[in-house]
């Protein structure tokens, strides 16, 4: 083996460039036929494994959607969407011929979720702006980052307990209203917004920030017009993910927003029902009673049917939110070659 002797001068004459280089027997490094075949096999294997992962994951997810759709469409009609649960007794049909509905729960879900979005999306985005753009590895930022992770692990039920106690102290004992639910959900939403936004901001190439600074643009405008703008599609899908994180929460809302069968439009006063709470309550009822003298239209299984229908509506609402998010993301999409 030829061992290199140390050699000076980076401005060496061309001829000496390889003079001290070891002699290489490239055949040693050539792939063997079997190795090539093995690589090929591994590639194919991984391709199939990845496809398999996908297929395996599809089975439960399809089953879930299928179950919800099949069970949900049975009671999903206009009457169900346009009425609340007032005057619904046992399995009997109501005065409108329906079996009660979810209007109040849809309104509750939308208002409470909107309330938590209004709180957590600005806070979350600004917090990640702080983390990515302002705090260069300071102690505070490391703490904040860690705490965001910790926050994402707060059990939703603890978030509910926290909001409930906070309102009890600030507003009055036993206070329950929709906004209290929004506060509880914000606690769950903020970390998701922060983390996804942070990832998205980190991916924005530094080149772009430099280009903007070099044009004499202030940091604030660079961040809001270049960095956030470039990351916008990612931020939108992060926000959707965050909404997804909370729109299906049940436990904290039972504590904070309560439960009511009639429609309450006021986010800031009175109990409010949301769709997941509704689903859970109807599931808990399981069966309605039909007394011996009940009419033919009495349905004992109506609570479960309502639960599935409400679950389907919940999925549809999420679908629509998703669509809106997609459209927003597409409008603001970053047009690259990719």
């Amino acid at each position: 083996m030829t061992h290199p002797t140390s050699h000076d001068s980076s401005g060496s004459a061309p001829a000496s460039l390889m003079a001290d280089a070891p002699v290489i027997d490239f055949d040693k490094f050539k792939p063997t036929r079997s190795h090539l075949a093995a690589r090929q096999r591994k590639d194919t294997f991984m391709r199939w494994l990845i496809l398999l992962a996908f297929v395996v994951a599809c089975i439960p997810l399809i089953s879930l959607l299928w179950t919800t759709i099949v069970n949900g469409v049975r009671r999903l009609n206009w009457d169900f969407l346009s009425h609340n649960m007032t005057y619904v007794v046992g399995g009997e049909a109501t005065g409108t011929g329906g079996y009660g509905g979810i209007l109040h729960a849809i309104i509750g879900t939308l208002e409470i979720t909107l309330g938590s979005m209004v709180i957590s999306i600005p806070v979350g985005i600004m917090c990640s702006v702080y983390l990515v753009e302002y705090a260069n590895r300071s102690r505070l930022s490391r703490t904040v980052r860690l705490l965001v992770d910790v926050m994402s692990g707060i059990p939703s039920i603890v978030a509910g307990l926290f909001a409930f106690s906070m309102f009890s102290i600030l507003v009055g004992p036993g206070t329950i209203n929709g906004f209290e639910g929004s506060v509880a959900l914000s606690l769950l939403m903020i970390p998701t917004v922060v983390k996804t936004t942070e990832e998205m901001l980190k991916i924005v190439p530094n080149d772009l920030r430099e280009a903007s600074y070099a044009l004499g643009v202030t940091k604030q405008r660079t961040i809001s017009k270049i960095v956030l703008r470039t990351a916008l599609p990612g931020i939108v899908s992060g926000a959707i993910l965050a909404i997804a994180r909370v729109i299906g929460e049940t436990a904290p809302l039972l504590m904070t927003a309560g439960y009511i069968v009639s429609t309450n439009m006021n986010l800031f006063s009175g109990e409010m029902t949301t769709l997941p709470v509704y689903v859970y309550q109807e599931y808990s009822k399981l069966r309605a009673n039909c007394p011996a003298d009940a009419s033919a239209s009495c349905v004992t299984t109506i609570p479960m049917e309502r639960a599935w229908a409400a679950a389907l509506v919940l999925i549809l609402i999420v679908l629509i939110l998703n669509l809106i998010g997609r459209i927003v993301a597409r409008i603001f999409a970053v047009k690259t070659e990719r």
């Binding site: 692990g153 983390k195 991916i203 599935w308």
Partner: protein, 311 residues
């Protein structure tokens, strides 16, 4: 037209808002921790005999001391969440890669959409589906596992029927966190610099080797933080566990048997409605423990990623 001075002021205000939001996280978390401590205080500072009576009433006399109570709950929480993550992790990465690098463009777009949608399916629906559809459907499989793999202690039979077991709950939680991890991981994978991918391919790498050389290293920190998000969700999941698991208060690895373990969050939900003042304190004490555990898990994960990043 804005003068530089006002631009500077806007800059300062913006910076102040960003800092305030960062600090708000500290404040909120501090408030939550303080509140938990405050509400859990009777556990430490209150009448100890009343505390042990309350705990005894929660457990039917199996535990009288807070640590004996929270120990198995903690064990169950970590067990269920870790299993869920273990199941979901590789599948999620597989799907994310499938969408970002393997599937044809159109299919990938459609799949992306479906994954985002699934990430948003409420846990109460997973609970419904898990409890009503999966539990009966998965029993034959668990029975098969218990029969043929029963010699592995964790699969020791007989498999409970209905399968309201840790194994089933872990599967449901895995399905729940799968879209979350997939969604984030996919976004990161899609951001892999084309230059890196091309560098690998030009060296004669196969597609999988390209993924290993360029995509996975690039996405690593994102994958880890996505997993932490999923783990956090699994640790704190209430409704799905509550609606599916047959709980027990043991330190048990018997995944296929019923009434073995319970999670902290589900336990709070199960006990809270009927708990009195002191009972709520005890439950909040368990919540505090969960809080600390999440803290530790995240702390460790952070240390691990940091070490890798330095290298």
């Amino acid at each position: 037209m804005t003068k530089p001075v006002s631009g500077k002021q806007v800059d300062k205000v913006f910076r102040a808002i960003a800092y305030a939001c960062g600090i708000l996280i500290l404040v909120v978390l501090g408030a939550v921790a303080l509140f938990l401590l405050f509400r859990a205080w009777p556990l430490i500072g209150g009448d100890q005999s009343a505390v042990s009576e309350t705990i005894s009433s929660f457990t039917g006399g199996k535990a009288t001391n807070f640590w004996a109570y929270v120990g198995p709950l903690l064990f169950g929480t970590v067990l269920v969440a870790a299993l869920a993550l273990a199941i979901a992790f590789f599948v999620a990465i597989g799907i994310a890669l499938f969408i970002s690098h393997y599937a044809p463009k159109k299919l990938a777009a459609a799949l992306s959409y479906v994954v985002d949608l699934l990430a948003a399916i409420p846990s109460v629906i997973y609970g419904l589906w898990g409890g009503l559809v999966l539990v009966p459907a998965i029993y034959p499989f668990w029975n098969w596992v218990a029969t043929y793999l029963g010699w592995i202690p964790i699969f020791a039979g007989p498999a409970a029927n209905p399968s309201r077991t840790v194994a089933t709950v872990a599967v449901v939680l895995a399905i729940m966190i799968l879209p979350i991890i997939t969604s984030i991981t996919r976004d990161i994978f899609l951001q892999t610099p084309r230059l890196q991918e091309e560098a690998a391919l030009a060296l004669g790498a196969t597609k999988w080797e390209m993924v290993k050389l360029a995509v996975l290293p690039f996405g690593k920190s994102g994958v880890i933080s996505a997993s932490m998000l999923g783990l956090g969700r699994a640790l704190g999941e209430t409704m799905a566990v509550l609606m599916i698991l047959s709980p027990g208060l043991k330190y048990s690895f018997r995944l296929l048997q019923a009434s073995q373990d319970q999670t902290i969050a589900a336990n709070i939900a199960a006990q809270y409605p009927e708990a009195n003042e002191l009972g709520v304190s005890v439950l909040i004490g368990t919540g505090l423990v969960l809080f600390v555990i999440t803290f530790l898990v995240n702390f460790l994960a952070r240390k691990i990623t940091e070490k890798k990043a330095v290298k």
